[in-house]
């Protein structure tokens, strides 16, 4: 369940990455063109033929994202992949040299990928995600994988800022369990970053692993074993979320150390971050009561590409490539006979069982959103200026109703407004035209709480100018109040506009007011949606300044609904 957002070249936290990517200019260049909308058709997402191109994202990536889908042809393997596989791209030229096979990768989230694979609309010869376990639990999912071959391993573990780890006595060979982590969370001494488990496999693995560990037995989890109280306590420590492991890492690196003390992520990400020092010294905890390990299986989807597939996985699993994967990406080799480097620690972490049924997995996901995690406050700032009239307004209405349960896709089901969620809708044209608050007590589709949002969406009308900054400023005033009223809630802003700001505050005025706000309000991120003729540069600047992100709803094959759904992973 990795994210669709794909702006990053390689793994965040690599040596040099923090100096390469701090400013808005880099984000703007990458963000506006590439990082967008991988939830749409795969066609829109092909990031280019990677073989022979050592760094396809820089320069040419943006154009590639709009190119038509590569045709299936002999000698080529088109792979639908999770974004965390991007750091394998540097291997592809050598793969091409060794096997003659041209591999192209397009990226999407795991649940979206599973959706497409199930429906047969993946338009890819192979799938490559950090895990296929959830797909295989779905009815008909296993049969879509004609063959599957694990390529490498990385357990989902915890990285703690070293001063904090030392304070806790988590040093040397001291055994630390998920229960110990939960105790520090309960004592108010530890907060952490973790991806959204419906959007990213690392978060999902952590959720499943912690639930199994708290069942006390490391047995396969049944619904009756799920213990809500310790899980609620544990996930109360999650103060930073994201739709992808890479984005989470970026945000962790940038966050003031005092605001978030640890990160749950792949061991490979944490080792790389430890090596780069971008987040300061980091202590990696492999919890003694168990972990869940991603095995990165490559699965064949297209019967007529068996030969290409076999040659590709054979090369990837050759000892030389396995050593290189270990060295370059800090993932563990999956073939016996390639020794593990010492930085992976000694001893074998206990492997916690993954649930055997979709029922258990879905129950955990639903409970995470409705019960365990901190409540959320989503502030939407919606452009209803005259230019939104017609199809655009209809798209907005559809995007909003999709989040109330109308979207029945796999990813859509876990992107809905959830229990305990506070939703604020700020509409604007020449000025703010309305502010409505909704509290979701009953998250079941069709509930009165959700119907209120559907009705609100249906009542939207378009006219007037575009006062982007005035409306966003109002959202921050709302956010500042929310941080006081609901200090535990995860509050975020979504800004959707289809044009340039031509009314009210200008960018400088907004930024000045934002910078003067209290730290709690400034910590609220803005996720900006490019729609219609929106000013990408201006939205990128807003996203960068607030620690948010830009999403492009204008990319071919990408709908506003897709983007609204994807942003749910960050809220």
């Amino acid at each position: 369940m990795s994210t669709a957002i794909t702006g990053r070249r390689g793994r965040p936290g690599r040596p040099g990455s923090s100096t390469r990517r701090p400013g808005s200019s880099t984000r703007r260049r990458q963000g506006a063109s590439i990082r967008l909308g991988a939830l749409g058709t795969v066609a829109a997402l092909v990031l280019g033929v990677l073989a022979g191109c050592t760094d396809p994202g820089l320069g040419g990536g943006g154009d590639a994202s709009t190119s038509p889908p590569a045709p299936s042809r002999p000698g080529t393997l088109r792979i639908l992949a999770g974004s965390e596989l991007k750091d394998l791209e540097p291997l592809l030229p050598d793969l091409k040299k060794a096997t003659g096979i041209t591999v192209t990768m397009s990226y999407t989230g795991t649940l979206d990928g599973a959706d497409k694979i199930l429906k047969g609309s993946a338009d890819a010869d192979a799938a490559w995600f950090s895990s296929d376990r959830y797909l295989r639990l779905l009815s008909g999912g296993a049969a879509k994988e004609l063959v599957r071959t694990p390529v490498m391993l990385s357990p989902v573990v915890l990285g703690v800022r070293t001063p904090l780890a030392q304070q806790f006595g988590w040093t040397g060979t001291t055994k630390v369990s998920w229960g110990d982590v939960a105790a520090k969370v309960a004592a108010g001494q530890l907060t952490y970053a973790m991806t959204n488990p419906a959007a990213s496999n690392s978060g999902f693995s952590a959720l499943v692993g912690v639930a199994a560990a708290f069942a006390g037995t490391s047995d396969a989890l049944q619904v009756s074993d799920i213990r809500a109280a310790p899980l609620t306590s544990f996930f109360g420590g999650q103060v930073l979320t994201a739709g992808s492991s890479g984005w989470l890492t970026d945000a962790f690196v940038k966050a003031p150390p005092a605001t978030v003390g640890a990160m749950i992520n792949y061991e490979s990400v944490l080792l790389t971050l430890q090596q780069s020092g971008a987040a300061g010294p980091l202590t990696i905890i492999r919890p003694s009561d168990g972990v869940i390990t991603a095995d990165y299986p490559m699965a064949l989807l297209a019967d007529n590409r068996r030969d290409e597939y076999t040659r590709v996985v054979s090369w990837l699993r050759s000892p030389a490539t396995q050593r290189r994967i270990q060295h370059d990406t800090s993932r563990r080799p999956v073939v016996p006979g390639v020794p593990l480097e010492s930085r992976f620690g000694t001893g074998t972490p206990l492997e916690l069982p993954f649930p055997a049924t979709q029922q258990v997995a879905d129950r955990l996901l639903a409970a995470y959103f409705d019960e365990y995690r901190r409540p959320t406050h989503a502030i939407y700032v919606l452009d209803v200026s005259g230019s939104m009239e017609g199809d655009r307004l209809a798209a907005l209405q559809q995007a909003l109703t999709g989040l109330t349960g109308a979207d029945d896709s796999l990813a859509g089901r876990f992107a809905r407004f959830r229990g305990r969620e506070h939703v604020t809708m700020i509409t604007f044209s020449s000025a703010v035209t309305g502010t409505r608050d909704f509290i979701i007590n009953d998250p079941s589709p069709g509930s009165a709480d959700l119907k209120a949002i559907t009705d609100f969406a249906g009542s939207l009308r378009a006219n007037g100018n575009t006062a982007v900054y005035t409306a966003l400023d109002a959202a921050y005033t709302k956010a500042a109040q929310a941080r006081k009223d609901e200090p535990n809630a995860l509050t975020s802003i979504v800004l959707m506009t289809d044009g340039e700001s031509n009314s009210g505050l200008d960018a400088g005025q907004f930024t000045g007011r934002y910078d003067a706000r209290p730290a709690g309000a400034r910590a609220v991120r803005t996720f900006a949606v490019v729609f219609g003729e929106a000013d990408r540069g201006a939205l990128s600047a807003i996203a960068t300044h607030t620690g948010g992100e830009v999403f492009d709803a204008t990319a071919p094959g990408v709908s506003l609904s897709d983007v609204f759904r994807e942003i749910r992973g960050y809220q």
Binding site: V147, L153, T310, T348, L350, A356
Partner: protein, 374 residues
């Protein structure tokens, strides 16, 4: 030797939907040597649909070279053994399921009168770690007989029945695992090796008697379901848990149900994966998987006969970890690399019929879905 009747067909039509259509086409291109090798235009292509366990052997370059000398070239597709039974075989010269009951069924279904050939065979076995052997011995599960250690299935099922945990058997300083004592396997609903495990467990649970009536099958399916449901998510392919054993190790697979051939192939290849702490146990009783070729054409018959009898091809099979019946005594099954020949096994039983196995698996499937005690 007892046959493996029925185990091939344990996966019934109800469950067939979960079978992955595994068909790997691998054209084995022989090395055409400049000297004496036959040129490819003189080679007869023989198309084989084989169980995945034999793929490594059939695509072994040494096998290809030997067959080339004999003027044949194999074109190998692999499929689940159960799927082979259901497939249209008109494009093939040989069907090679992983055991003989499936071969029997193919011959019946396709009205084949040609003789079938058992090419080689291998028992189901349990891979574990040296540090677990003493506590399992103390618990009466493992008994050593000379260099061979046996795993008492009856004693094991008794401990599982009492919900025994590793923590009750092993000093946590040696191995810390709060979970149930449990052998890891593949998914019984889709995988043949797990179905063989179920066949074994049901025999023992049925007071050392092959389950033969539906009522008992229903009862035992429900009773034995926890052998599988307690594992949580299970891998679809036999290579999966064995690979976990070799790479992830004791943290994931303290005990894993495999074929002896998988372990021996690694030992014989001497690739470093079978380190000194790796131990192979033989369940008592055990069941053999007999890889049986059903010739579908004259060319197929000629090649099946060669695979079953040509000394060089049989040596290659032994190198792939299998046992062959026409070796010159047990030593002929050693396979080289200084690896001891496999032990002679006395306590070998037959699996139940396909219908009985299907009924048990249906009960286990229900337990997965929360309709029974798991």
């Amino acid at each position: 030797m007892p046959t493996r009747r029925g185990s091939a067909r344990v996966i019934g039509p109800v469950l067939a939907v979960v079978l992955v259509l595994v068909v790997v086409t691998l054209i084995v291109v022989p090395r055409v040597t400049g000297g004496g090798g036959a040129s490819s235009q003189h080679l007869t292509d023989v198309r084989v649909l084989a169980g995945s366990e034999t793929q490594a052997y059939l695509t072994d370059p040494a096998v290809a070279r030997r067959l080339e000398e004999l003027h044949y070239r194999l074109r190998v597709d692999t499929a689940g053994s159960q799927e082979i039974v259901g497939r249209d075989l008109k494009d093939y010269d040989i069907a090679l399921p992983s055991n003989s009951p499936q071969a029997d069924q193919i011959r019946r279904d396709k009205h084949i009168t040609r003789q079938q050939y058992v090419l080689f065979f291998t028992p189901i076995a349990i891979a574990t770690f040296q540090q677990l052997v003493p506590p399992l011995t103390t618990a009466g599960v493992v008994t050593a007989n000379g260099p061979v250690s046996y795993f008492d299935m009856g004693r094991y099922l008794g401990l599982v029945g009492q919900d025994t945990r590793w923590s009750a058997l092993v000093d946590p300083a040696v191995y810390q695992n709060p979970g149930y004592l449990l052998i890891k396997s593949t998914d019984v609903r889709s995988s043949n090796s797990a179905a063989v495990y179920l066949a074994l467990a049901s025999y023992v649970a049925n007071k050392n008697s092959i389950v033969s009536d539906g009522g008992t099958a229903d009862e035992l399916g429900t009773q034995l379901a926890k052998l599988f449901t307690r594992q949580g998510y299970t891998d679809p392919s036999t290579e999966g848990p064995f690979n976990d054993y070799l790479t992830i190790g004791i943290g994931k697979t303290p005990l894993v149900m495999i074929y002896e051939s998988q372990f021996r192939a690694r030992q014989i290849a001497n690739d470093g994966s079978i380190r000194s702490d790796r131990v192979l146990l033989y369940p008592s009783p055990t069941i053999y998987a007999k890889h049986t070729a059903v010739p579908l054409t004259d060319d197929g018959e000629a090649v099946a006969r060669l695979l079953a009898s040509d000394p060089q091809l049989q040596v290659a099979a032994v190198r792939a970890g299998f046992r062959v019946s026409n070796s010159a005594g047990p030593a002929g099954n050693a396979g080289g690399g200084g690896v001891a020949p496999p032990p002679q096994l006395a306590n070998v039983v037959d699996p139940p019929t396909q219908d009985i196995s299907t009924r048990m698996i249906t009960k286990i499937d229900a337990a997965y879905n929360g309709q029974g005690p798991g």
